[in-house]
Homo-oligomer: 344 residues x 4
């Protein structure tokens, strides 16, 4: 039986509580929120959990084995660090921390204490993203050419982080899981339309040491919700639409063929042909992603294994978020990432 | 009766010929293509037109009053210049020319000879784009915040121009028509995935001397066709989906409200509220855009009036294409445009 | 404080419990299900409620003021009757009862005891259906010509009732709420594809004493889920798509115009023109329908007012279900309904 | 070289002319229309064709080998009969004739004179319908359970024929091509909403001597265009959406499994399970259907072979149209079809 304390019972916290409460051999033993009103709701739904407005109490509570943190990102580091120091395993909402330095220190703390530190990169636990990874690993796409995602909606504006920290965190965690490479450089553009606010619209390009290229469109001020990702490969291409009720992943047997024996006098030089075959939408596991994620966390706590989305994955995502925001503030200036070199 | 000679009878030429032939007081008197096979098709469909493989013959033909040019962009300048020198009015397919210099020289030649020079920025003549302009001019959107377009498909790869010259030409001509301002700087990223080819995927951001921002996603190697543009304003927002059979333009009465009197202690700082009202899809004129465009060209020839999409509009588009390609080749490096200054 | 006992904790029961538990001045005091496993889940989620496998205990429980019944329709009559006899108010899942006679006896029992008897015709409590009724009542559609609904999915096959009793109950309750008239005759066709099963696919036409006509397509064995209703009027027409995430109701300013002065010699007789105007998707109340329904029930219990979907509405729906099933078993034979006369 | 005369140059005639003109070894030698205005258009487009307002002239014209008839259905019989008597092959637009008797007499005339008589059941020549037939013939669907089609739009109201004759003709020709059986009985309902008009909305059910059932929804007064057909089989199910730009046919590996060993005490009797697998959208031939149809006609004329959609197919469709209209006029009364017996 793992007893989990949840810090933050606003938007995402209740989902964490529900999934933890439904998990076998797990109990939600404490809930913290700064709002008494939210705590009243929590008590109504989980009468057995202790409630408090002070996270410092919760992380010290001896009835708590692990702490799940669903608070604004600015507070992640402090809460997680205290929890780790108190010997608790930690599940952090994404993004892991406000800076790469903070993320590094949490990784360090968890490793020294041999505690589980996991970041809830939820999409990594969806049937859709897992099927896409399977497809890529089976070689079905051939060489990956691009990952191009549009993630826009009339969203929950935040004042603490910009749209990149809010929305790109999803895509960065997905590409971290899907692709064998990490970006070597980032260019981002965007704009803030709210006086005194942060950037509410942004586009991010990530370069790799190969012809692979990643692009994200992010927008909190869109009239419609779009969650569509195109993944192009030399052999096949994928459309991943997270808003589709059932066929979220469609694999197209489409591509180009290059004809080298083209006559040189052709003006248009149509040396390129098209291949079009069937489209296939594979059956997906429909388990709620957060259920899979929380079970994975509990299992890692139990066994001591490293989570799929552990501190290092969290750190890599935070580094990309930092680089993208830096580029954005300089209107697209290329930001190189350590551990990579920019393609010539 | 205006007698038009058409140079280029490949993909777009037949559409030009069909619309010109259907126009009142107009006759297609000559057709030129380098392929005898294409000319045979042309003769079959327009028996009354003279046919030739030499454009130099056509532009000198005394039976020709105006020349419509639907050839690869690299040849636009030479053909148009000879036609203007021969005293013919000229309708050029987009983009107008391969360089801004060429475009300038054509504008100059046409002005000195008082001949009509028009660029077929087809989308400007669609009912959808015209309705969007009406909506903007009526002030319904409020201040324009962004124009964000996705224009991707498994497309006709070209070897003469990259995906920006092919596809962004559409969006640049649309924003030139819709927006009161011109971009002051451009940042673009992209990639080429075909050995020896040109860039087949690209993203372009255009900055203005205001919080307005424009972004384009362009891709010749996409598994599905997408033609979707989001236009965000302070009062309303538009979704323009050119693939929708009837409701191509949807106007959403949505936006944000900023509450300045927010309590400072709020952690999330949710000072921003949302406004959601009705959506309206206005009735659109469904006349074929190319029909409207060719009629406009013929009318300008007749009256001597300046076309909506005259040489200067063509030049502005070419300048943006040049700047975007330059930025693309330098991984997003900001390219400032004369006549504008980059926002601080 | 109204204390509600819920009978049936299978598919729909938990939704009832959740909404009742969230309602102010209401408590779920008892839950009954024949499965101990389901009761364990119930205890986990609502520790304060008494649980039992015997509905007869629950309806006699003095701690229960009202009984909500979410069991198979065959059991509705017996449970509801006992509950009413024990002085409890009753909320019945749709359809109200297995026969019109049963429905009548429940109405009678509730009236004599002055108890609230409500049927959970959930769709009547959606923002979409309420907006459609508003639109109709404002006269925006003009004369209503037809209501044509497709309600299909790969559904939960039932062995106790056929697809009409399962799915048409929704549409019958919607038209009962939307339309000022009741059907005067029914014709239905369909088929059973499962050995020993009930009809899993059916189509129902309802006639009225006016040119209004209603048609339903119902299917438990469809590869995709469809929930689309077209409502045609002389002035405007509606598309109601319940699967649309936000614009569920679209009002089209479309129709025909009849030109009586047409020349009689015209062969095609195209005396009919088309009117096409804007489309409008009104903003909808997004409150969960079951929340609105349970609050309405509690309010009726409190005030003694007649529910919008009271016993009489439930009875009218059951009569249509009976008639449709009778016609279905006779391959479309017209079944006239008392209180109506078939149009000549 | 086959010389074809086309009677009727209204809506569909120009499509016929264009495809015949593009066909190898074929020439459009004459065009007839009652409107001089339409003939002027025809002359403009096909200068080589003779034009006349009298179809009696055209069918006697020695320069005509075959006659294509695109006039209102009421005139099909007379024109086709005269053409056959004059020794011309005949291609008739759907539906073949106004009555089954007329269709029979045309079949007889063509057979006696050994002339080709074909009905342009266009959908039979689409890549989509051909792929569906392939899929069915390969046994991929298993036993066919149902064909359920919705074919609605704000359509061209006709005064000569009702919506069944106009729209159901398509579906009847498709099922005639797809299914190995013919309907044994028909039930139809519908309504006319235009004073003095014909039925503009209708639903048709066709029964077979097996559990197969066919249903059609037809509507000239719908706010949106829908062309969606569900085809259910014991092994797989198809969604055929003719308005989809590319994936018109989707094959779902879905179905039910019947568990006979179910415990008898289960109240809901959920003896039925669900099977969900991948979805596949096969690549389709995108040749214009009318091109394939006209080439087939010309080939049949050339070789003397029987067309796929010959007179007998045309007759079967007309019989279904007659039966459906008869049932419609009697509010769903079952109409049995000769050569079939109604399932008990």
């Amino acid at each position: 039986m793992i007893r989990v304390g949840v810090v933050g019972y606003g938007y995402w916290g209740p989902n964490l509580v529900r999934n933890l409460a439904d998990a076998p051999d797990c109990r939600v033993s404490a809930i913290c929120d700064s709002s008494q009103e939210r705590l009243a709701v929590a008590r109504h739904r989980v009468p057995a959990a202790a409630t408090t407005t002070e996270w410092t109490d919760l992380v010290q509570d001896p009835r708590v084995d692990a702490v799940a943190v669903a608070t604004p990102v600015a507070t992640h580091f402090e809460i997680a660090l205290e929890a780790l120091r108190a010997g608790k395993h930690v599940l952090l909402e994404k993004p892991m921390a406000a800076t790469a330095d903070q993320a590094l220190r949490l990784i360090d703390e968890a490793e020294r204490r041999r505690l589980t530190l996991m970041v809830d990169h939820t999409f990594v636990f969806t049937g859709a993203v897992r099927k896409i990874r399977e497809t890529i690993e089976a070689g079905d796409l051939g060489e990956i050419y691009y990952y191009d995602s549009v993630r826009v909606n009339l969203g929950v504006f935040r004042s603490d982080v910009n749209v990149i920290w809010d929305l790109a965190a999803h895509d960065f965690s997905i590409i971290d899981y899907l692709l064998a490479q990490s970006p070597c450089a980032i260019s981002a553009t965007g704009m803030n339309h709210v006086p005194g606010g942060v950037e509410n619209i942004a586009w991010v390009t990530a370069f790799f040491q190969s012809p692979l290229i990643v692009h994200l469109g992010l927008n909190w001020l869109a009239p419609v919700k779009v969650r569509q990702t195109l993944i192009g490969g030399s052999e096949r291409m994928i459309v991943y639409d997270d808003l589709e009720p059932s066929e979220k992943v469609k694999i197209y047997d489409k591509g180009i063929t290059v004809d080298n024996g083209v006559s040189p006098e052709s003006l248009h030089g149509l040396r390129i042909g098209y291949r079009t075959g069937d489209m296939r939408a594979p059956k997906l596991d429909t388990t709620e992603a957060l259920r899979t994620a929380t079970l994975h966390f509990l299992q890692c706590v139990e066994t001591g294994r490293q989570p799929i989305t552990g501190g290092c994955a969290g750190l890599r995502v935070v580094r990309l978020l930092e680089a993208a925001t830096h580029s954005l503030r300089h209107r697209g200036r290329l930001v190189e990432l350590e551990g990579g070199s920019v393609p010539a």
